[in-house]
Protein backbone atom coordinates (compact mmCIF):
# COMPACT_ATOMS: atom_id res chain seq x y z
CA UNK A 1 0.00 0.00 0.00
CA UNK A 2 1.32 3.36 -0.88
CA UNK A 3 1.59 5.34 2.34
CA UNK A 4 1.38 8.62 0.44
CA UNK A 5 -2.07 7.55 -0.66
CA UNK A 6 -3.21 7.51 2.99
CA UNK A 7 -4.50 11.00 3.68
CA UNK A 8 -4.83 12.06 7.30
CA UNK A 9 -6.69 15.14 8.52
CA UNK A 10 -5.88 16.41 12.02
CA UNK A 11 -8.59 18.55 13.60
CA UNK A 12 -7.48 20.39 16.73
CA UNK A 13 -7.77 23.98 17.94
CA UNK A 14 -4.23 23.95 19.44
CA UNK A 15 -1.55 24.87 16.92
CA UNK A 16 1.22 23.02 18.74
CA UNK A 17 -0.82 19.81 18.66
CA UNK A 18 -1.52 20.18 14.95
CA UNK A 19 2.13 20.97 14.20
CA UNK A 20 3.69 18.19 16.26
CA UNK A 21 1.20 15.48 15.34
CA UNK A 22 1.33 16.25 11.62
CA UNK A 23 5.14 16.30 11.77
CA UNK A 24 5.11 12.91 13.50
CA UNK A 25 2.76 11.33 10.95
CA UNK A 26 4.45 12.87 7.89
CA UNK A 27 7.60 11.04 8.93
CA UNK A 28 5.67 7.82 8.40
CA UNK A 29 5.19 8.93 4.81
CA UNK A 30 1.50 9.81 5.11
CA UNK A 31 -0.03 12.86 3.47
CA UNK A 32 -1.16 15.01 6.40
CA UNK A 33 -3.21 18.18 6.59
CA UNK A 34 -4.75 20.10 9.47
CA UNK A 35 -7.92 22.02 10.34
CA UNK A 36 -8.16 24.37 13.31
CA UNK A 37 -11.87 23.92 14.00
CA UNK A 38 -14.97 21.88 13.16
CA UNK A 39 -16.38 24.01 10.31
CA UNK A 40 -13.06 24.13 8.43
CA UNK A 41 -12.74 20.34 8.88
CA UNK A 42 -16.20 19.88 7.36
CA UNK A 43 -15.20 22.13 4.44
CA UNK A 44 -12.09 19.96 3.85
CA UNK A 45 -14.26 16.82 4.03
CA UNK A 46 -16.58 18.21 1.38
CA UNK A 47 -13.68 19.14 -0.88
CA UNK A 48 -11.31 16.14 -0.68
CA UNK A 49 -11.17 12.46 0.26
CA UNK A 50 -9.57 11.49 3.59
CA UNK A 51 -8.56 8.10 4.91
CA UNK A 52 -8.23 8.96 8.61
CA UNK A 53 -9.44 11.87 10.76
CA UNK A 54 -7.84 12.54 14.14
CA UNK A 55 -10.29 14.82 15.89
CA UNK A 56 -9.92 16.58 19.23
CA UNK A 57 -12.97 16.17 21.41
CA UNK A 58 -12.92 19.58 23.07
CA UNK A 59 -12.97 22.47 20.63
CA UNK A 60 -14.78 25.80 20.86
CA UNK A 61 -17.97 25.94 18.79
CA UNK A 62 -18.34 22.61 17.04
CA UNK A 63 -16.96 19.82 19.25
CA UNK A 64 -15.32 16.56 18.19
CA UNK A 65 -18.52 14.51 18.40
CA UNK A 66 -20.30 16.94 16.07
CA UNK A 67 -17.40 16.75 13.60
CA UNK A 68 -17.55 12.94 13.85
CA UNK A 69 -21.29 12.91 13.14
CA UNK A 70 -20.89 15.13 10.05
CA UNK A 71 -17.80 13.28 8.85
CA UNK A 72 -19.65 9.97 8.87
CA UNK A 73 -22.38 11.52 6.71
CA UNK A 74 -19.92 13.04 4.21
CA UNK A 75 -17.30 10.28 4.00
CA UNK A 76 -18.57 7.15 5.71
CA UNK A 77 -15.47 5.11 4.88
CA UNK A 78 -13.03 7.52 6.58
CA UNK A 79 -11.84 6.24 9.98
CA UNK A 80 -12.43 8.85 12.69
CA UNK A 81 -10.35 8.71 15.85
CA UNK A 82 -11.41 10.95 18.74
CA UNK A 83 -8.63 12.41 20.91
CA UNK A 84 -9.33 13.78 24.34
CA UNK A 85 -7.48 14.86 27.44
CA UNK A 86 -10.45 14.12 29.69
CA UNK A 87 -11.72 10.61 29.29
CA UNK A 88 -15.14 9.72 30.56
CA UNK A 89 -17.07 6.54 29.90
CA UNK A 90 -20.05 8.55 28.61
CA UNK A 91 -18.12 10.43 25.94
CA UNK A 92 -16.30 7.27 24.88
CA UNK A 93 -19.60 5.44 24.47
CA UNK A 94 -21.11 8.41 22.60
CA UNK A 95 -18.13 8.53 20.21
CA UNK A 96 -18.26 4.81 19.49
CA UNK A 97 -22.02 4.94 18.96
CA UNK A 98 -21.55 7.69 16.39
CA UNK A 99 -19.14 5.48 14.47
CA UNK A 100 -15.72 6.52 15.78
CA UNK A 101 -12.99 4.00 14.94
CA UNK A 102 -11.30 4.49 18.29
CA UNK A 103 -10.91 6.79 21.22
CA UNK A 104 -7.50 7.97 22.45
CA UNK A 105 -6.69 9.65 25.74
CA UNK A 106 -3.99 12.34 25.39
CA UNK A 107 -1.12 11.95 25.79
CA UNK A 108 -0.84 8.51 24.23
CA UNK A 109 2.05 6.14 23.91
CA UNK A 110 3.93 6.44 20.57
CA UNK A 111 3.69 2.66 20.15
CA UNK A 112 -0.09 2.71 20.69
CA UNK A 113 -0.54 5.51 18.16
CA UNK A 114 1.73 3.89 15.59
CA UNK A 115 0.03 0.50 15.87
CA UNK A 116 -3.43 2.04 15.62
CA UNK A 117 -2.62 3.99 12.45
CA UNK A 118 -0.91 0.96 10.91
CA UNK A 119 -3.98 -1.14 11.73
CA UNK A 120 -6.39 1.36 10.14
CA UNK A 121 -4.22 1.70 7.04
CA UNK A 122 -3.98 -2.10 6.76
CA UNK A 123 -7.74 -2.54 7.07
CA UNK A 124 -8.46 0.19 4.52
CA UNK A 125 -5.94 -1.34 2.12
CA UNK A 126 -7.68 -4.72 2.47
CA UNK A 127 -11.07 -3.19 1.73
CA UNK A 128 -9.67 -1.37 -1.30
CA UNK A 129 -7.87 -4.48 -2.50
CA UNK A 130 -11.08 -6.46 -2.20
CA UNK A 131 -13.00 -3.90 -4.27
CA UNK A 132 -10.20 -3.81 -6.82
CA UNK A 133 -10.01 -7.60 -7.02
CA UNK A 134 -13.74 -7.77 -7.69
CA UNK A 135 -13.33 -5.15 -10.39
CA UNK A 136 -10.44 -7.04 -11.98
CA UNK A 137 -12.39 -10.30 -11.89
CA UNK A 138 -15.62 -8.80 -13.21
CA UNK A 139 -13.86 -6.20 -15.36
CA UNK A 140 -16.37 -3.85 -13.81
CA UNK A 141 -15.05 -0.40 -14.65
CA UNK A 142 -16.98 2.76 -13.99
CA UNK A 143 -16.25 6.39 -14.79
CA UNK A 144 -14.76 6.94 -11.35
CA UNK A 145 -12.11 4.35 -12.30
CA UNK A 146 -11.09 6.34 -15.37
CA UNK A 147 -8.44 8.79 -14.38
CA UNK A 148 -7.40 11.97 -16.09
CA UNK A 149 -6.39 15.55 -15.44
CA UNK A 150 -6.39 16.35 -19.15
CA UNK A 151 -9.15 18.77 -20.25
CA UNK A 152 -9.72 16.92 -23.54
CA UNK A 153 -10.06 13.63 -21.69
CA UNK A 154 -12.38 15.10 -19.09
CA UNK A 155 -14.60 16.38 -21.91
CA UNK A 156 -14.59 12.81 -23.29
CA UNK A 157 -15.76 11.46 -19.92
CA UNK A 158 -18.46 14.10 -19.72
CA UNK A 159 -19.75 13.25 -23.20
CA UNK A 160 -19.56 9.52 -22.49
CA UNK A 161 -21.42 9.93 -19.20
CA UNK A 162 -24.23 11.81 -20.95
CA UNK A 163 -24.28 9.33 -23.83
CA UNK A 164 -24.45 6.43 -21.36
CA UNK A 165 -27.93 7.50 -20.28
CA UNK A 166 -29.31 7.12 -23.83
CA UNK A 167 -29.55 4.04 -26.02
CA UNK A 168 -27.86 5.67 -29.01
CA UNK A 169 -25.09 3.95 -30.89
CA UNK A 170 -21.63 5.20 -29.93
CA UNK A 171 -18.51 5.16 -32.06
CA UNK A 172 -15.25 5.30 -30.08
CA UNK A 173 -12.26 6.42 -32.10
CA UNK A 174 -8.67 6.25 -30.99
CA UNK A 175 -5.32 4.61 -31.50
CA UNK A 176 -4.64 1.09 -30.24
CA UNK A 177 -4.30 0.90 -26.50
CA UNK A 178 -6.04 4.19 -25.69
CA UNK A 179 -8.67 2.37 -23.63
CA UNK A 180 -11.60 2.09 -26.01
CA UNK A 181 -12.94 -1.09 -24.44
CA UNK A 182 -12.48 0.25 -20.90
CA UNK A 183 -14.52 3.32 -21.87
CA UNK A 184 -17.18 1.11 -23.49
CA UNK A 185 -17.41 -0.96 -20.28
CA UNK A 186 -17.76 2.20 -18.20
CA UNK A 187 -20.52 3.49 -20.49
CA UNK A 188 -22.35 0.19 -20.11
CA UNK A 189 -21.89 0.18 -16.34
CA UNK A 190 -23.37 3.68 -16.03
CA UNK A 191 -26.22 3.04 -18.46
CA UNK A 192 -29.77 1.90 -17.68
CA UNK A 193 -28.65 -1.42 -19.22
CA UNK A 194 -26.00 -2.04 -16.56
CA UNK A 195 -27.86 -5.05 -15.19
CA UNK A 196 -27.80 -6.62 -18.66
CA UNK A 197 -24.81 -8.32 -20.31
CA UNK A 198 -21.79 -6.61 -21.87
CA UNK A 199 -20.22 -8.58 -24.68
CA UNK A 200 -17.09 -7.61 -26.58
CA UNK A 201 -16.23 -8.89 -30.05
CA UNK A 202 -12.98 -8.18 -31.84
CA UNK A 203 -14.04 -7.96 -35.48
CA UNK A 204 -10.48 -8.18 -36.81
CA UNK A 205 -9.66 -11.43 -35.05
CA UNK A 206 -12.01 -13.68 -37.03
CA UNK A 207 -12.62 -14.61 -40.65
CA UNK A 208 -15.82 -13.38 -42.29
CA UNK A 209 -17.65 -16.69 -41.84
CA UNK A 210 -16.63 -17.15 -38.23
CA UNK A 211 -17.40 -13.54 -37.35
CA UNK A 212 -20.82 -13.80 -38.95
CA UNK A 213 -21.56 -16.90 -36.91
CA UNK A 214 -20.09 -15.28 -33.79
CA UNK A 215 -22.33 -12.21 -34.16
CA UNK A 216 -25.56 -13.74 -35.35
CA UNK A 217 -25.31 -17.39 -34.34
CA UNK A 218 -26.13 -20.31 -36.60
CA UNK A 219 -28.68 -23.03 -37.11
CA UNK A 220 -27.78 -26.71 -36.88
CA UNK A 221 -26.24 -27.98 -40.15
CA UNK A 222 -25.72 -24.52 -41.60
CA UNK A 223 -22.08 -25.34 -42.23
CA UNK A 224 -19.69 -28.20 -41.60
CA UNK A 225 -19.23 -28.55 -37.89
CA UNK A 226 -22.45 -26.75 -36.97
CA UNK A 227 -23.75 -29.68 -34.98
CA UNK A 228 -26.21 -27.69 -32.93
CA UNK A 229 -28.03 -24.37 -32.97
CA UNK A 230 -25.78 -21.68 -31.56
CA UNK A 231 -26.86 -18.26 -30.30
CA UNK A 232 -24.73 -15.35 -31.47
CA UNK A 233 -23.33 -12.41 -29.49
CA UNK A 234 -26.20 -10.14 -30.55
CA UNK A 235 -28.72 -12.55 -29.03
CA UNK A 236 -26.61 -13.09 -25.93
CA UNK A 237 -26.30 -9.32 -25.45
CA UNK A 238 -30.08 -8.81 -25.44
CA UNK A 239 -31.03 -5.98 -23.02
CA UNK A 240 -27.36 -5.19 -22.69
CA UNK A 241 -24.51 -3.79 -24.74
CA UNK A 242 -22.42 -5.26 -27.55
CA UNK A 243 -18.97 -3.79 -28.11
CA UNK A 244 -17.74 -4.23 -31.68
CA UNK A 245 -14.04 -3.51 -31.64
CA UNK A 246 -12.08 -2.85 -34.84
CA UNK A 247 -15.28 -2.27 -36.77
CA UNK A 248 -13.26 -0.75 -39.61
CA UNK A 249 -11.94 -4.22 -40.45
CA UNK A 250 -15.24 -5.96 -41.32
CA UNK A 251 -15.99 -7.16 -44.83
CA UNK A 252 -18.64 -5.56 -47.10
CA UNK A 253 -20.98 -8.54 -46.58
CA UNK A 254 -20.89 -8.12 -42.80
CA UNK A 255 -21.14 -4.34 -43.12
CA UNK A 256 -24.49 -4.89 -44.84
CA UNK A 257 -25.64 -7.43 -42.24
CA UNK A 258 -24.71 -5.08 -39.45
CA UNK A 259 -26.49 -2.18 -41.11
CA UNK A 260 -29.68 -4.24 -41.16
CA UNK A 261 -29.41 -5.10 -37.48
CA UNK A 262 -28.90 -1.45 -36.61
CA UNK A 263 -31.88 -0.39 -38.73
CA UNK A 264 -34.33 -3.18 -37.92
CA UNK A 265 -33.08 -4.50 -34.57
CA UNK A 266 -33.58 -8.02 -35.85
CA UNK A 267 -31.70 -10.62 -37.89
CA UNK A 268 -31.68 -14.26 -38.89
CA UNK A 269 -29.12 -16.76 -37.61
CA UNK A 270 -26.70 -18.13 -40.23
CA UNK A 271 -28.50 -20.86 -42.16
CA UNK A 272 -31.87 -19.88 -40.68
CA UNK A 273 -34.94 -17.93 -41.71
CA UNK A 274 -36.51 -17.15 -38.36
CA UNK A 275 -36.10 -13.48 -37.43
CA UNK A 276 -34.64 -12.89 -33.99
CA UNK A 277 -35.52 -9.55 -32.39
CA UNK A 278 -33.01 -8.00 -30.03
CA UNK A 279 -32.76 -4.95 -27.81
CA UNK A 280 -29.03 -4.27 -27.89
CA UNK A 281 -27.04 -1.10 -27.55
CA UNK A 282 -24.14 -1.02 -29.98
CA UNK A 283 -20.82 0.58 -29.11
CA UNK A 284 -18.36 0.31 -31.98
CA UNK A 285 -14.70 1.24 -31.97
CA UNK A 286 -11.89 1.57 -34.44
CA UNK A 287 -8.38 2.90 -34.74
CA UNK A 288 -8.91 3.56 -38.46
CA UNK A 289 -10.08 6.73 -40.14
CA UNK A 290 -13.59 5.56 -41.08
CA UNK A 291 -14.38 8.79 -42.98
CA UNK A 292 -11.41 8.12 -45.24
CA UNK A 293 -12.41 4.47 -45.63
CA UNK A 294 -15.84 5.68 -46.81
CA UNK A 295 -14.22 8.05 -49.31
CA UNK A 296 -12.07 5.21 -50.64
CA UNK A 297 -15.09 2.96 -50.93
CA UNK A 298 -13.89 0.45 -48.30
CA UNK A 299 -16.65 1.20 -45.81
CA UNK A 300 -20.38 1.69 -46.42
CA UNK A 301 -21.41 5.29 -46.01
CA UNK A 302 -24.88 4.37 -44.68
CA UNK A 303 -23.31 2.14 -41.99
CA UNK A 304 -20.83 4.86 -41.13
CA UNK A 305 -23.66 7.32 -40.42
CA UNK A 306 -25.57 4.66 -38.45
CA UNK A 307 -22.54 4.08 -36.26
CA UNK A 308 -21.37 7.66 -36.01
CA UNK A 309 -24.36 8.87 -33.95
CA UNK A 310 -22.25 9.85 -30.96
CA UNK A 311 -18.56 9.84 -31.89
CA UNK A 312 -16.10 9.91 -28.99
CA UNK A 313 -12.43 10.45 -29.76
CA UNK A 314 -9.86 9.20 -27.23
CA UNK A 315 -6.59 11.16 -27.40
CA UNK A 316 -3.30 9.24 -27.52
CA UNK A 317 -1.25 9.09 -24.33
CA UNK A 318 1.51 11.30 -25.81
CA UNK A 319 -1.06 14.13 -26.00
CA UNK A 320 -1.95 13.82 -22.31
CA UNK A 321 1.38 13.24 -20.63
CA UNK A 322 0.18 14.99 -17.49
CA UNK A 323 -1.94 11.87 -16.86
CA UNK A 324 1.06 9.54 -16.74
CA UNK A 325 1.76 9.86 -12.96
CA UNK A 326 -1.95 9.42 -12.22
CA UNK A 327 -2.20 6.38 -14.52
CA UNK A 328 0.99 4.90 -13.04
CA UNK A 329 -0.46 5.16 -9.55
CA UNK A 330 -3.74 3.61 -10.67
CA UNK A 331 -2.10 0.81 -12.66
CA UNK A 332 0.37 -0.02 -9.87
CA UNK A 333 -2.52 -0.55 -7.50
CA UNK A 334 -4.26 -2.83 -10.02
CA UNK A 335 -1.07 -4.72 -10.80
CA UNK A 336 -0.34 -5.12 -7.09
CA UNK A 337 -3.61 -7.02 -6.74
CA UNK A 338 -3.17 -9.02 -9.93
CA UNK A 339 0.45 -10.02 -9.43
CA UNK A 340 0.47 -10.17 -5.64
CA UNK A 341 3.64 -8.04 -5.61
CA UNK A 342 3.62 -4.86 -3.60
CA UNK A 343 5.44 -2.21 -5.56
CA UNK A 344 4.37 1.12 -4.18
CA UNK A 345 6.04 3.84 -6.16
CA UNK A 346 8.23 4.84 -9.06
CA UNK A 347 11.59 6.53 -8.53
CA UNK A 348 12.22 10.05 -9.75
CA UNK A 349 14.38 8.83 -12.67
CA UNK A 350 11.98 6.09 -13.69
CA UNK A 351 9.11 8.59 -13.75
CA UNK A 352 11.20 10.97 -15.87
CA UNK A 353 11.72 8.14 -18.35
CA UNK A 354 8.00 7.32 -18.38
CA UNK A 355 7.20 10.96 -19.04
CA UNK A 356 9.63 11.10 -21.98
CA UNK A 357 8.66 7.86 -23.73
CA UNK A 358 6.58 8.36 -26.92
CA UNK A 359 4.05 5.59 -25.99
CA UNK A 360 3.07 4.40 -29.47
CA UNK A 361 1.06 1.64 -27.75
CA UNK A 362 -0.63 4.14 -25.42
CA UNK A 363 -2.06 3.12 -22.01
CA UNK A 364 -1.85 -0.58 -22.88
CA UNK A 365 1.89 -0.20 -23.50
CA UNK A 366 2.26 1.73 -20.22
CA UNK A 367 0.47 -1.08 -18.41
CA UNK A 368 2.72 -3.71 -19.99
CA UNK A 369 5.88 -1.75 -19.13
CA UNK A 370 4.71 -1.39 -15.52
CA UNK A 371 3.74 -5.05 -15.31
CA UNK A 372 7.26 -6.02 -16.33
CA UNK A 373 8.72 -3.53 -13.86
CA UNK A 374 6.55 -4.82 -11.00
CA UNK A 375 7.82 -8.34 -11.66
CA UNK A 376 11.53 -7.46 -11.93
CA UNK A 377 11.72 -4.66 -9.30
CA UNK A 378 13.94 -5.62 -6.39
CA UNK A 379 12.78 -2.79 -4.13
CA UNK A 380 9.38 -1.31 -3.31
CA UNK A 381 10.06 1.52 -5.77
CA UNK A 382 10.42 0.87 -9.50
CA UNK A 383 13.83 2.04 -10.75
CA UNK A 384 14.57 3.24 -14.30
CA UNK A 385 16.31 -0.01 -15.42
CA UNK A 386 13.29 -2.06 -14.23
CA UNK A 387 11.17 -0.49 -16.97
CA UNK A 388 13.17 -2.07 -19.77
CA UNK A 389 12.86 1.11 -21.81
CA UNK A 390 16.59 1.77 -21.92
CA UNK A 391 18.69 0.83 -24.92
CA UNK A 392 20.96 -2.06 -24.04
CA UNK A 393 24.24 -0.51 -22.92
CA UNK A 394 27.26 -1.60 -24.92
CA UNK A 395 30.75 -1.46 -23.56
CA UNK A 396 33.58 0.55 -25.04
CA UNK A 397 33.18 2.85 -28.00
CA UNK A 398 30.50 0.94 -29.91
CA UNK A 399 30.60 -0.89 -33.19
CA UNK A 400 33.49 -0.32 -35.62
CA UNK A 401 32.68 2.51 -37.97
CA UNK A 402 30.04 3.81 -35.52
CA UNK A 403 30.31 7.59 -35.62
CA UNK A 404 29.01 8.06 -32.09
CA UNK A 405 28.91 11.44 -30.38
CA UNK A 406 31.06 12.11 -27.32
CA UNK A 407 27.97 11.94 -25.15
CA UNK A 408 26.96 8.56 -26.57
CA UNK A 409 30.42 7.18 -25.87
CA UNK A 410 30.38 8.62 -22.35
CA UNK A 411 26.97 7.10 -21.68
CA UNK A 412 28.05 3.67 -22.90
CA UNK A 413 31.27 3.76 -20.93
CA UNK A 414 29.56 4.76 -17.68
CA UNK A 415 26.95 2.02 -18.22
CA UNK A 416 29.75 -0.47 -18.78
CA UNK A 417 31.62 0.57 -15.61
CA UNK A 418 28.41 0.48 -13.57
CA UNK A 419 27.68 -3.00 -14.85
CA UNK A 420 31.21 -4.10 -13.88
CA UNK A 421 30.84 -2.69 -10.35
CA UNK A 422 27.39 -4.16 -9.89
CA UNK A 423 25.87 -0.70 -9.77
CA UNK A 424 28.10 0.44 -6.89
CA UNK A 425 28.39 4.19 -7.36
CA UNK A 426 31.40 4.63 -5.06
CA UNK A 427 33.46 1.96 -6.86
CA UNK A 428 32.34 3.19 -10.29
CA UNK A 429 33.30 6.78 -9.42
CA UNK A 430 36.71 5.59 -8.29
CA UNK A 431 37.21 3.62 -11.54
CA UNK A 432 36.16 6.61 -13.63
CA UNK A 433 38.29 8.96 -11.50
CA UNK A 434 35.46 11.41 -10.94
CA UNK A 435 33.68 12.33 -7.71
CA UNK A 436 30.45 10.58 -6.74
CA UNK A 437 28.22 13.61 -7.20
CA UNK A 438 29.50 14.15 -10.75
CA UNK A 439 28.87 10.48 -11.48
CA UNK A 440 25.46 10.66 -9.89
CA UNK A 441 24.52 13.63 -12.07
CA UNK A 442 25.71 11.81 -15.19
CA UNK A 443 23.73 8.70 -14.23
CA UNK A 444 20.67 10.90 -13.90
CA UNK A 445 21.38 12.66 -17.18
CA UNK A 446 21.71 9.38 -19.08
CA UNK A 447 19.04 7.51 -17.09
CA UNK A 448 21.51 4.83 -16.18
CA UNK A 449 20.84 4.33 -12.53
CA UNK A 450 21.06 0.87 -11.12
CA UNK A 451 20.00 -0.03 -7.61
CA UNK A 452 23.04 0.31 -5.47
CA UNK A 453 23.97 -3.00 -4.01
CA UNK A 454 26.72 -1.83 -1.67
Amino acid sequence: MNRERTRILIVDDEEIVRESLSGWLEKDGYTVSTAHDGPSAIARLNAERWSILLVDMKMPGMDGLQVLEQAKKIQSDAAVVIMTAYATVDTAVAAMKLGAYDYLVKPFDPEEMSLMITKIVGQQALVRENVLLRKVLKRDYRFRDLVSKNPQMRAVFELARTAARSSSTILILGESGTGKEVLARAIHAESPRSQGPFLAVSCAALTETLLESELFGHERGSFTGAVARQRGKFEAANRGTIFLDEIGDITPKLQLALLRVLEERRFARVGGVEQVEVDVRVIAATNRDLGKAVEQGHFREDLYYRLNVIPIRLPPLRDRREDIPLLVDHLLEQLGVETGRKVESVSHDAMALLMEHPWPGNVRELRNVLERAVVVASTSAIQAPDLGLLEPARGGGGAPGDLATLEQVERRHIAHVLARTGGNITQAARALDIDRVTLYNKIKKYHLREVETA
Partner: protein, 192 residues
Protein backbone atom coordinates in the same frame (compact mmCIF):
# COMPACT_ATOMS: atom_id res chain seq x y z
CA UNK B 1 31.78 24.45 3.21
CA UNK B 2 28.77 23.18 5.12
CA UNK B 3 28.85 20.47 7.75
CA UNK B 4 26.62 18.71 10.24
CA UNK B 5 26.99 20.32 13.66
CA UNK B 6 26.46 18.22 16.77
CA UNK B 7 25.52 20.37 19.75
CA UNK B 8 25.17 19.23 23.35
CA UNK B 9 22.27 21.17 24.89
CA UNK B 10 21.74 18.91 27.91
CA UNK B 11 21.35 19.88 31.57
CA UNK B 12 24.35 17.87 32.85
CA UNK B 13 27.93 17.76 31.61
CA UNK B 14 28.27 15.91 28.31
CA UNK B 15 29.77 12.47 27.84
CA UNK B 16 32.54 13.42 25.38
CA UNK B 17 33.14 9.85 24.20
CA UNK B 18 29.46 9.55 23.37
CA UNK B 19 29.34 12.88 21.49
CA UNK B 20 32.45 12.01 19.55
CA UNK B 21 30.89 8.67 18.63
CA UNK B 22 27.79 10.46 17.33
CA UNK B 23 29.87 12.93 15.34
CA UNK B 24 31.95 10.17 13.71
CA UNK B 25 28.89 8.03 12.97
CA UNK B 26 26.84 10.78 11.31
CA UNK B 27 29.85 11.85 9.28
CA UNK B 28 30.29 8.25 8.12
CA UNK B 29 26.62 7.63 7.37
CA UNK B 30 26.05 10.92 5.56
CA UNK B 31 29.51 11.13 3.98
CA UNK B 32 29.63 14.75 5.10
CA UNK B 33 31.95 16.50 7.53
CA UNK B 34 30.58 16.69 11.07
CA UNK B 35 31.77 18.87 13.96
CA UNK B 36 31.06 19.26 17.63
CA UNK B 37 29.68 22.71 18.42
CA UNK B 38 30.40 24.03 21.87
CA UNK B 39 27.77 26.77 22.08
CA UNK B 40 26.93 27.76 25.66
CA UNK B 41 23.36 28.85 24.88
CA UNK B 42 20.50 26.58 25.84
CA UNK B 43 16.91 26.67 24.61
CA UNK B 44 14.57 28.54 26.96
CA UNK B 45 10.85 28.02 27.62
CA UNK B 46 10.83 24.40 26.56
CA UNK B 47 9.96 23.01 30.03
CA UNK B 48 6.31 22.09 30.53
CA UNK B 49 5.57 21.90 34.27
CA UNK B 50 2.30 19.99 33.72
CA UNK B 51 4.09 17.27 31.78
CA UNK B 52 7.36 17.46 33.69
CA UNK B 53 9.13 17.19 30.31
CA UNK B 54 10.64 19.42 27.62
CA UNK B 55 8.81 20.18 24.38
CA UNK B 56 10.86 18.83 21.48
CA UNK B 57 8.87 20.98 19.05
CA UNK B 58 9.89 24.14 20.98
CA UNK B 59 13.50 22.97 21.00
CA UNK B 60 13.40 22.56 17.20
CA UNK B 61 11.97 26.05 16.81
CA UNK B 62 14.79 27.42 18.99
CA UNK B 63 17.45 25.41 17.13
CA UNK B 64 16.25 26.63 13.74
CA UNK B 65 16.86 30.18 14.93
CA UNK B 66 20.25 29.38 16.49
CA UNK B 67 21.83 27.31 13.71
CA UNK B 68 25.58 28.02 13.75
CA UNK B 69 26.92 29.74 10.65
CA UNK B 70 28.15 27.13 8.14
CA UNK B 71 25.97 24.37 9.57
CA UNK B 72 24.14 22.42 6.92
CA UNK B 73 22.19 20.61 9.62
CA UNK B 74 22.28 20.97 13.38
CA UNK B 75 21.75 17.95 15.60
CA UNK B 76 21.12 18.75 19.25
CA UNK B 77 21.78 16.09 21.86
CA UNK B 78 20.21 16.39 25.28
CA UNK B 79 19.68 14.40 28.45
CA UNK B 80 16.25 15.87 29.26
CA UNK B 81 13.04 13.92 28.61
CA UNK B 82 11.22 15.09 25.46
CA UNK B 83 7.57 15.10 24.50
CA UNK B 84 5.18 16.28 21.81
CA UNK B 85 1.72 17.26 23.09
CA UNK B 86 -0.21 14.14 22.06
CA UNK B 87 2.47 11.60 22.91
CA UNK B 88 3.81 10.49 26.30
CA UNK B 89 7.40 10.91 25.09
CA UNK B 90 9.61 10.95 22.00
CA UNK B 91 13.20 9.76 21.62
CA UNK B 92 13.80 12.70 19.31
CA UNK B 93 12.25 14.95 16.72
CA UNK B 94 13.37 16.57 13.46
CA UNK B 95 12.16 19.03 10.87
CA UNK B 96 11.21 16.98 7.82
CA UNK B 97 13.32 18.40 5.01
CA UNK B 98 14.55 21.14 7.35
CA UNK B 99 17.77 21.86 9.22
CA UNK B 100 17.25 20.93 12.86
CA UNK B 101 16.99 17.67 14.79
CA UNK B 102 17.09 16.79 18.47
CA UNK B 103 17.68 13.47 20.23
CA UNK B 104 17.47 12.71 23.94
CA UNK B 105 19.31 10.08 25.95
CA UNK B 106 16.64 10.21 28.70
CA UNK B 107 14.66 7.21 27.43
CA UNK B 108 17.64 5.38 25.97
CA UNK B 109 19.05 4.66 29.38
CA UNK B 110 19.90 0.99 30.00
CA UNK B 111 20.90 0.93 33.65
CA UNK B 112 24.19 1.83 35.38
CA UNK B 113 26.27 -0.68 33.40
CA UNK B 114 24.69 0.01 30.07
CA UNK B 115 26.72 2.98 28.89
CA UNK B 116 27.84 1.25 25.70
CA UNK B 117 24.28 0.31 24.85
CA UNK B 118 23.10 3.90 25.40
CA UNK B 119 25.86 5.19 23.15
CA UNK B 120 24.88 2.72 20.41
CA UNK B 121 21.22 3.70 20.70
CA UNK B 122 22.04 7.40 20.62
CA UNK B 123 24.15 6.96 17.48
CA UNK B 124 21.30 5.11 15.74
CA UNK B 125 18.68 7.68 16.73
CA UNK B 126 20.98 10.55 15.71
CA UNK B 127 21.40 9.08 12.22
CA UNK B 128 17.63 8.49 12.16
CA UNK B 129 16.57 12.03 13.10
CA UNK B 130 19.11 13.62 10.76
CA UNK B 131 17.65 11.45 7.98
CA UNK B 132 14.36 13.30 8.40
CA UNK B 133 16.11 16.63 7.88
CA UNK B 134 17.18 15.26 4.47
CA UNK B 135 13.52 14.47 3.74
CA UNK B 136 13.70 10.72 4.42
CA UNK B 137 10.60 9.15 5.94
CA UNK B 138 10.26 5.95 7.95
CA UNK B 139 11.42 2.75 6.35
CA UNK B 140 9.97 -0.73 6.80
CA UNK B 141 13.31 -2.50 6.80
CA UNK B 142 13.79 -3.24 10.54
CA UNK B 143 17.60 -2.91 10.46
CA UNK B 144 17.63 0.39 8.54
CA UNK B 145 18.38 3.52 10.59
CA UNK B 146 15.18 5.03 9.19
CA UNK B 147 12.91 2.31 10.64
CA UNK B 148 10.42 3.77 13.13
CA UNK B 149 11.53 3.77 16.77
CA UNK B 150 8.36 2.84 18.61
CA UNK B 151 10.16 1.21 21.53
CA UNK B 152 13.68 0.32 22.70
CA UNK B 153 13.48 -3.13 21.16
CA UNK B 154 12.90 -1.48 17.77
CA UNK B 155 15.83 0.89 18.39
CA UNK B 156 18.08 -2.06 19.27
CA UNK B 157 17.07 -3.90 16.09
CA UNK B 158 18.39 -1.05 13.95
CA UNK B 159 21.87 -0.24 12.68
CA UNK B 160 23.17 3.33 12.30
CA UNK B 161 23.28 2.85 8.51
CA UNK B 162 20.74 3.01 5.68
CA UNK B 163 19.23 0.18 3.70
CA UNK B 164 19.99 0.33 -0.06
CA UNK B 165 16.70 2.07 -0.83
CA UNK B 166 17.06 4.82 1.81
CA UNK B 167 20.69 5.33 0.82
CA UNK B 168 19.66 5.84 -2.77
CA UNK B 169 16.98 8.30 -1.69
CA UNK B 170 19.49 10.14 0.47
CA UNK B 171 21.95 10.45 -2.43
CA UNK B 172 19.16 11.64 -4.71
CA UNK B 173 18.12 14.32 -2.22
CA UNK B 174 21.70 15.33 -1.62
CA UNK B 175 22.26 15.80 -5.35
CA UNK B 176 19.03 17.81 -5.58
CA UNK B 177 20.05 20.02 -2.67
CA UNK B 178 23.06 21.17 -4.71
CA UNK B 179 25.79 19.25 -3.05
CA UNK B 180 29.28 20.41 -2.21
CA UNK B 181 30.20 17.67 0.21
CA UNK B 182 32.83 15.80 -1.79
CA UNK B 183 35.59 18.29 -1.18
CA UNK B 184 34.44 18.93 2.36
CA UNK B 185 34.29 15.26 3.26
CA UNK B 186 37.75 14.67 1.87
CA UNK B 187 39.06 17.48 4.03
CA UNK B 188 37.65 15.88 7.15
CA UNK B 189 40.24 13.53 8.68
CA UNK B 190 37.63 11.65 10.73
CA UNK B 191 35.51 10.75 7.79
CA UNK B 192 36.88 7.31 7.06
Amino acid sequence: MSAIYVWWIGADAPDQVMLDGVRAAVSRSYELPARLWHGEERPADTWDPRRGQHSSTQILRWLAGHRPAGARKVLAITDVDLFIPVLTFVYGEAQLGGHAAVVSTARLWAGPDGRRLVRARLVTESVHELGHTFGLVHCRTPRCAMARSINLAAVDDKRPTFCAECRLQYLERLAREGDDHEQGADADPDRR
